[in-house]
């Protein structure tokens, strides 16, 4: 390992170093503005340095910085940037000493980025744990009753899921004799493999990853954590933490060639269908916006798994495009929730949004755009994403899954539209609509996200091109 090997890691190191600087800085001088700006600067610099990484660079056997990893790291950094912007105004007045929030934010971003670049079980595990351990603290950050409850639930269950994951890793390691993804398939084809142990290992890894992705039947924590966590943190959990894990899952199962194991394929299909139905059905009668979004995210991950199961070139395109759309929409939706939240509680009851259009037409329009995208209505990024998933699924003749997906989209449409109808109804009596003024940065971010959403819906070509170039070398 030489200094030259380290060069591609600069984006990751920038993030790590920024968090250390903030940590040291706090010891001398507490300033929210300083920490916040440094965080934003750190993320921005890391994002820029991504463009400096040329070609595919394998750094030791742990990490690889190829176009795919760079793309996902970029996505993760962008999402963290948005969350950092949204949270600065949100945290104000909710808790004193909020500087540490940024350290935790940077660390979990780092963890997620490591996941996107990892090619080895050790980096996988380390990345996952950096991400989760920071998330425990972030979720419970403002220390009200719901925060802590959410923190406890996430802590206990995530720790257990890590244990499952590790047991799976141990079994896979024992059978194949390697921890590198790329060498795993040759290890598998060697003689004397105990198929049962191997498959159990896969299943346990799937359990651990499934927990992070919040897919059924490992989704139980999702609504409670989404509801209890501070709104910007919820946005973070929904996007950054899932994005990194999904990037890893895709890389891993492409490299070990999941299609060689029909039973594993069946298990993932089961998870996909269960997630779609569980998510959509649970969201149907829900009255809390954060919980609705939580359940809808379960369903969306189910849709993603359908594309994941499809083979061929379409798979990576579909998954990646859908994830980008999902990131934008989720950040936007939780951004609206964040902006409307009063200091007492988050604006998460559906009634809080009744007649929002009368008070805040722009916010209502933005929220509608986000919901339309989640529902997959044309002219939004969500539609194109869903189109690719259906095309990928149908292209691989996964008829049953595609039909399930179409049915579920129909169910999903119902509860998204229900919220939209509420937005344009007569105003109710809720204190949330009385929030005096909206923070400027947040508003700008939301407008930007909406523009992106529509742009990708109307003219997705450039992004698709970019993804194609990325998958070419994958």
């Amino acid at each position: 390992m030489t200094l030259n090997d380290l060069a591609p890691l600069i984006p990751l190191m920038v993030i790590a170093v920024s968090s250390v600087i903030i940590m040291l800085g706090i010891a001398f001088y507490r300033s929210r503005a300083f920490s916040g700006l440094l965080t934003l600067a750190g993320i921005a610099v890391a994002f820029i340095t991504l463009f400096g990484v040329q070609g595919t660079r394998q750094v030791t056997s742990l990490l690889i910085l190829d176009d795919y990893a760079l793309f996902y790291i970029g996505l993760i950094l962008a999402a963290s940037f948005v969350v950092a912007l949204l949270s600065s105004d949100y945290l104000e007045g909710r808790r004193e000493n909020i500087e540490e929030f940024y350290i935790l934010l940077l660390l979990s971003t780092l963890g997620s980025s490591v996941l996107a670049a990892s090619t080895h079980f050790v980096s996988f595990f380390i990345g996952l744990e950096i991400l989760s351990v920071s998330l425990y603290a972030l979720i419970a950050y403002t220390r009200n009753e719901l925060n802590i409850e959410a923190g406890v639930k996430y802590l206990v269950l995530a720790a257990a899921s890590s244990a499952f994951l590790l047991f799976g890793i141990a079994l896979l390691y024992g059978e194949t004799g390697t921890m590198e993804f790329s060498r795993m398939s040759s290890g598998i084809s060697a003689q004397g493999i105990n198929k049962g142990m191997l498959l159990t290992g896969f299943a346990l890894v799937l359990t651990g990853v499934g927990f992070k992705l919040a897919v059924a039947p490992f989704h139980m924590w999702t609504p409670d954590v989404y509801e209890g966590a501070p709104a910007p943190v919820t946005a973070f959990v929904a996007t950054v933490s899932k994005g990194g894990v999904f990037a890893l899952l895709l890389r891993y199962f492409i490299q070990v060639d999941m299609h060689a194991y029909p039973s594993l394929f069946g298990a993932v299909a089961f998870i996909a269908v269960a997630s779609m139905f569980a998510g959509n059905l649970l969201a149907l009668l829900q009255k809390n916006i954060k919980r609705i979004l939580a359940y809808s995210s379960i369903a969306h991950l189910g849709y993603l798994l359908v594309a994941f199961l499809a083979g061929g070139v379409m798979r990576v395109t579909a998954v990646t495009f859908y994830l980008v759309a999902y990131f934008i929409t989720t950040l936007g939706a939780f951004g609206v929730v964040t902006m409307l939240s009063g200091k007492e509680r988050d604006a998460d009851a559906v009634e809080d949004y009744q007649g929002l259009f009368r008070h805040r037409p722009w916010l209502a329009l933005i929220f509608s755009a986000m919901l339309f995208s989640l529902a997959g209505i044309p002219l939004t990024a969500g539609f194109i994403g869903k189109f690719y998933i259906v095309a990928a699924g149908a292209g691989s003749a996964l008829w049953l899954l595609v039909i399930m997906l179409v049915i579920n989209s129909a169910i999903g449409l119902y509860y998204y539209l229900r919220i939209i109808v509420v937005l344009y109804a007569q105003p109710g009596h809720s204190e949330v609509s009385a929030v005096s003024s909206l923070p400027l940065t947040g508003s700008l971010v939301l407008v930007l996200l909406t523009v992106l959403l529509l742009w990708l819906g109307v003219y997705p070509e450039p992004l698709i091109e970019m993804i194609h170039r990325m998958t070419m070398r994958f």
Binding site: V152, K153, V156, L157, A160, S161, F164, L199, T200, F202, A203, L204, L206, T207, F211, P217, F218, M220, W221, D224, S263, L264, G266, A267, F270, I271, A278, L281, L282, L284, L285, V313, M314, T317, P361, L365, I377, P378, F383, I384, F387, Y388, A391, A394, G395, W399, I403, V406, A410, I411, Y414, L417, V421, A425, V458, Y459, P460, E461, E465, H468
Partner: protein
């Protein structure tokens, strides 16, 4: 070409202007924005039609919307003969109805919201008809559905209105599901979604079968029937017709525009557009013809006995849409589109007249409380009378020419079910004339039967409403003159014009036969009018006597053949029973009508059950997670 972009995008711009500035700046001037925009697209449409008349069709891609590998979908426009007819229908009706709405919706607190939705609808509908590929068609398809959902529930304070919106939405899900799968099948078969290459390659599909969920199915039949599913939902054909009468809860201009003239005809348009696919499958064609004919008959008989003025017209719409499908099913696509075009005028006119009557009657819909309105509202009476003559097929008016062409081609065309559907169509012509004039006589003739306050309030509607009526009235009279058959000395220009897109179906029969078919339908229509006059004009209680005599028939018709009840009995109740006893165990015993409520009910109960697992207890979550892990392991090992 570039100016054609204005056709859909002017209304879109109006939508944005109204939704953004409507509340603060524009307020009660919102109609100006929308009307000017729609009028603008009407002007451009007319220019487009003029170009097409000279034979210049346009098929241009604006830009590439989605690519992947060799597959490409563009945003693009196809302006050909079929599109140009639809442009005439959509922009003309839309403009007039926008103007009318300025009077009708005057003073409503959602004034600007109404106009912005209306403009958005117009945009979506124009995107639907101008698309040059299936994805864009699908976009328009979904978007008009959404707008219709919002507009039906426009008066959301009324529970019946928001329920009706919901019903329309859910019923259409069933159809759109099939349509969506159909589009995917097309994509998989042809590798593209653009009309021209697909229709150029359809012949390669003949004889192919496909393994669909374990069955070997003829490919063209499968695709055609899946597409037809969508048409059945959108155009309210049996068995998905239940949403349209309920949709009358929306404001009347909405009923006229969306639920009579434009959106509901999208299904017919789509079938006509896909005629190369449908023509490959005799089975699918017969299904279309039979469904159309049965719907036409079924809805017409229900229309005979209803007392709600808007519902009668709604059933009449369902029935006439059935007529159009009947035409498509026997291969007479041109005649179907011709009827779509004439129907748009007289049916929009009927609805707007009904709206005018409601306006005068302060929202009253019940025929039994009306009567004698002729002298209070002469213009409304006159125009509605002409519209009814037109729908009844009185010679010389628009409805006569299109109906006659359908019946003649059904009778003389090659379709194996042609004679059957011709017979049904002729009966329907009689029924249509009867219920249309029953409506006229009960509303405008005789003595006023409402309360004194209502009588006091009676007045002709303002000019802004009556002028659109008169213009549409001209359409109801003259729009058919472009398609006068050669038998009557005309040139059958319409079908000739549509030939490049829809092909031309030759009727095989002698002139004598053609005269006979025409005579029969005219006699049917006139005798319908005559019977209505006999029953409702001359003798006040003859209707009551007949009702008494045929009590059973009347009951059946009054209750719309008990379809809602039937759905309730064979689908809803068992589903709820299963939901009650198998899945939940406890229930509030609520019974809701319609299949459309049964399935959601089941889903809702399942949802409640799932939620009950979500207890908030960590140890339970852990247990589910652990069980999940074991299930996954077991699946992996034992599969």
């Amino acid at each position: 070409m570039d100016s054609y972009l204005l056709i859909p995008f002017l209304p879109l711009a109006a939508f944005f202007i109204n939704i953004i500035f409507g509340r603060t700046l524009i307020k009660d001037k919102a109609h100006w924005v929308s009307i000017l925009a729609v009028f603008g697209s009407w002007v451009v449409s007319m220019m487009a039609v003029a170009e097409v008349l000279q034979g210049k069709t346009v098929n241009a891609d604006l830009y590439t919307w989605i690519t992947s590998g060799g597959f490409k979908v563009s945003v693009g426009f196809l302006i050909d003969q079929l599109t140009s007819v639809m442009l005439v229908v959509v922009t003309t009706c839309s403009t007039l109805i926008h103007i009318y709405s300025a009077g009708y919706m005057h003073g409503d607190k959602g004034y600007y919201r109404f106009f912005s939705y209306l403009s958005l609808f117009t945009f979506s509908m124009l995107m639907l008809v101008t698309a040059n590929n299936f994805l864009q068609l699908y976009f328009g398809w979904e978007a008009v559905g959404l707008c219709s959902y919002f507009l039906i529930g426009f008066w959301y304070e009324k529970k019946s209105a928001s329920d009706a919106g919901k019903k329309a939405f859910i019923v259409n899900r069933f159809g759109d599901f099939g349509f969506g799968i159909g589009v995917i099948m097309i994509f998989l078969t042809f590798g593209t979604l653009h009309y021209i290459p697909i229709f150029g390659a359809v012949n390669g599909m003949v004889g192919q079968t496909v393994d669909f969920l374990g069955m070997q199915v003829d490919l063209p039949t499968l695709i055609a029937l899946l597409l037809f599913c969508g048409a059945v939902g959108k155009s309210a054909q049996i068995p998905l017709h239940v949403w349209l009468p309920d949709a009358m809860e929306g404001p009347t201009p909405v009923s006229a525009l969306i639920h009579a003239a434009t959106m509901v005809t999208a299904g017919v348009f789509m079938v006509a557009r896909c005629n190369p696919i449908f023509s490959l499958s005799p089975v699918a064609m017969d299904v279309v013809a039979i469904v159309g004919a049965v719907t036409a008959l079924f809805a017409a008989t229900i229309g005979l006995v209803q007392n709600d003025i808007k519902r009668i017209i709604a059933y009449s719409t369902v029935s006439q849409l059935g007529y159009m499908f009947l035409a498509c099913g026997v291969g007479a696509y041109g005649a179907g589109i011709f009827h779509l075009y004439t129907h748009a005028f007289f049916k929009a006119l009927l609805f707007l007249c009904a709206g005018s009557v409601m306006h005068a009657m302060a929202g009253e819909l019940d025929l039994q409380k009306m009567g004698g309105l002729k002298k209070y509202m002469p213009w409304t009476y006159l125009t509605m009378f002409v519209a009814s003559l037109s729908i009844a097929g009185v010679p010389g008016l628009a409805g006569f020419f299109s109906k006659d062409e359908i019946l003649w081609l059904a009778y003389s065309g090659p379709s194996p079910v042609g004679k059957l559907v011709w017979a049904i169509g002729t009966i329907v012509a009689f029924l249509t004339a009867f219920y249309s004039f029953r409506l006229i006589f009960l509303t405008f003739h005789g003595k006023f039967r409402g309360s004194h306050e209502q009588e006091h309030h009676l007045h002709e509607s303002p000019k802004v409403m009556t002028i659109p009526l008169m213009i549409l009235c001209v359409g109801a009279i003259a729009s058919g003159w472009v398609g006068i058959p050669s038998l009557l000395g005309g040139g059958a220009h319409f079908t000739e014009f549509m030939k490049p897109v829809l092909g031309h179906l030759e009727g095989h029969g002698t002139h004598a036969e053609e005269w006979m078919v025409m005579a029969i339908s005219v006699v049917a229509g006139l005798s319908g009018i005559g019977l209505a006059a006999f029953v409702y004009l001359r003798e006040g209680d003859l209707a009551a006597t007949v009702t008494q005599k045929f009590r059973f028939v009347h009951q059946v018709l009054w209750n719309k053949y008990y379809v809602d009840e039937l759905y309730d009995f064979i689908i809803v109740r068992p589903t709820i029973w299963i939901a009650k006893n198998v899945i939940v165990g406890v229930t509030d015993g609520k019974i809701i009508e319609g299949i459309v409520n049964g399935v959601p009910e089941l889903i809702g109960r399942f949802s409640l059950w799932l939620r009950s697992i979500q207890t908030g207890m960590v140890h339970q979550y852990a247990a589910v997670m652990a069980i999940g892990a074991f299930v996954v392991i077991a699946m992996v090992l034992l599969w």
